[in-house]
């Protein structure tokens, strides 16, 4: 069975996949038991599965494992913990920027990619940066407030 070597959250991993086109999402969730990224659409339309690959926000549901070989993947698990959240997570908690929270993984990963590239984005830049992330509960205003909290620091 083909093997794929890459880095996840700073550590090296080697995984087998019978299908080189198996999306990264399933490898993360089922093989590596990293379930922060969620299955939302499998079409790259909603952003719930977002992870960082070499620092860029990608849709893991449409990223074949063969394209991940040799790269560095970052998932929500590594940002922070409930006891020690990172600044963005702390802002989401302070703003209570979640309802069901199924989209939250994608919001945090996409927003952290936005902030890494533009540390002090405007509200419009944040809105554009999250344009590919859908929230069904209508928590938009709180998510924007949370990201702007960090943007203003």
């Amino acid at each position: 069975m083909p093997q794929y070597k890459f880095r996840v959250n700073g550590g090296p991993v080697t995984v087998d996949s019978w299908d080189p086109d198996q999306p990264l999402l399933y490898i993360l969730r089922n093989t590596l038991v990293l379930r922060g990224a969620k299955f939302g659409c499998g079409l790259g339309q909603c952003g719930a599965c977002t992870v960082l690959v070499d620092g860029k926000a990608v849709r893991s549901c449409i990223t074949p494992i063969k394209q991940v070989a040799g790269r560095a993947v970052t998932t929500l698990e590594v940002l922070g913990t409930p006891e020690k959240p990172d600044a963005l997570q702390a802002a989401f908690i302070a703003e209570q920027a979640a309802q069901c929270g199924y989209c939250t993984n994608g919001m945090l990963m996409s927003a952290s990619a936005v902030l890494a590239q533009t540390p002090h984005p405007t509200l419009d830049q944040v809105k554009q940066g999250l344009a590919g992330n859908l929230c069904r509960c209508g928590t938009h205003t709180r998510i924007l407030s949370a990201v702007m909290r960090v943007a203003k620091v």
Partner: protein, 730 residues
Amino acid sequence: MDTITSLSRRGILKMAAGALIVPFAFGQAGGDASKPLDPSEVDSFLVIHADGSVTIYTSKVDVGTGLATAFRQTAAEELGIPIERFNLIEGDTALTPDHGGTGGSSGIPRGAADIRRAAATARQALLDLGARQLNRPASELTISGGDVIHASGQRATVASLIGGKRLGRKVNPNAPLKDPATYTVVGKPILRSDVPGKCTARHPWLQDFTLPGMLHGRVVRPPALGAKLLSVDEASIRSIPDVRVIRVESFLGVVAKDEWAVVRAAREIKATWSDWRGLPGSDGLDHYVRQAPVDRDQTITNRGDVNSALSSAAKQLSATYFWPYQSHASLGPSCAVADVKDSGTTIWSATQNPYGLRANLAKVFGMSHDKVRVVYMDGSGSYGTNGADDAAADALLLSRAAGQPVRVQWMRQDEHGWDPKGPAQLHELRGALDASGNISAWETQLWVPDGPQGNRALLGPESAAMAQTHGQGAGLMTLNLDPPYPVPNLRVVSHHLKDTPLRLSNLRAPGKIANVFAVESFADELAAAAGMDAVAFRLRGLTDPRAIEVLKRATGMLDWQTRLSPNPHAAEGDLLVGRGIAYARYKQAENYVAIGITVAVHKPTGKIAVRRIVCAHDCGLVVNPDGLRNQVEGNIVQTLSRTLHEEVTFDQAHVTSVNWASYPILTFPEAPAVQVALIDRPDQPSYGAGEASSAPVAAALANAIFDATGVRLRTVPFTAERVKAAFANA
């Protein structure tokens, strides 16, 4: 299938530091099996442990609404025990009392009220126990900080009085309740305990739940709603390893240890289905709904003589409004894990009604209730009955056939295509004004698919040709059809259609959003015809001070200038700007809500940009102002999405809006600023707030667009194409 070769599982788990999930199986209650479930017993709702912590048990479920936090506040307040000591177990038919499912904004008014009464009874029991231990009359004791206290300084911890033991009391509906004026926990913006876990990948999600030996399953839905499965070519998926095909009549599923294998197998398996083209198609659905066979007419209000008042009036107006079928469109497709064993069946589900699901599954699958356990876990927001219950039946069918636990998660096209839908609604309104511009006559007629009540048919069992009921209820569809203003001659009639093209269920604020859209748009049309400012016209008819207050608060926030619509100064370059207002008392008996919207319409393209939404909201006593605000904001933004974008489309065979491209929802660049004013009334009962502020959104937007453009939109969604067409016809 996929193995980790260079990193130990332990290392990965440490890396994940994931949520600890204890897999309950059937018969292992995960707690004291002797705990009562009868909702008349205090011990069914509350258990005080030996360490002084307290567990609340409830059949109501949170689903991201903040309900669990509100319950903890309610119990902590009434018991005098710090909120940090409270845990909550929700929606487990082996552990929680059945005091109803979640829905219809009943979580606070009924759910919290039940918990409050149980806690108040427990409080009396603790005071009696404290009286005995401290040798003081109970009337001289209070409970604070988790201790029973006497003014002399004597105290006893609640744990020392009852910890680990049963109270053994019936819930006393007349147990004295704390005076709301003394509240210290209820009314505070306590942070939700689930949010940190949701932000750090530690929350125990249903979608992340696994069992030892669990298989993944997917169901292959037919290409047409009523198509029958004729044959399956299992060789077509031979290249995908270790997949088992399960077929029961026309129910077709695949299971495997590897999830990606079943995703591919379900996509690639070749099957032959019978031809079926039984749907009317969604093009021209308004005409279909207007002409479809009616099962029954329901006269909701009839006073005065509407016909003669209309014909003799100074001014007469009529208008038709249409609301399409809409989907719950949950962001995470529905999921369930089922473990069918000889000893019993356990289902893990994000259902809003665990006991209801258990009863339905037991009936359809021919199992006794005591052999079925439904365990709720948080899933993606559902906003009513989405596909969760159907996914549970799918998992049960597959687990039963496979003899192993099976996890089913629907694919995107399953959720959009097959969740039961919120029904289309068509409204015809007629109204008349007298010489002074008062409403002298009003008629609302509603046409709505709303068939027999009872459980809706579950998809899997339907395909598997199992006997079941075919309920077509979608919730209380006929409330808020009456105008909230005084009308001497009024007739309100609902025509309930015999059939529905698509399966129905309750979708957030069932019926009321479309009803208020029609009624409050029409009120605006009458105000314009009367030559009056839209707010002044409404205020003239309102007498309830709570109604007047929300309307005044909302218009104050919007800096409303009294004038006629359309806006005489609408033009801002290519944009036309305006403001609109709408008011409703939800279900004609609950929350008072007024919503104001400012909008800019791009004239060349017809694109609508909502700039600002304000809301004044009175739901009586506020339990958690931040949780309430979150719900109100969510109602508003979600309903804005439904109004601007959402319409389920279908051809003669199946739903064609099956993903986020064909069923778009509101995106971040469109997100408006939302400002909410909460009016807290501690002396008034709490109404639920999970729906009410949805109701006036569409009307406020239609009224704002009219103010901006002079064009009246009466069909949802308000797409740019529809706006342009309205411009062309104006």
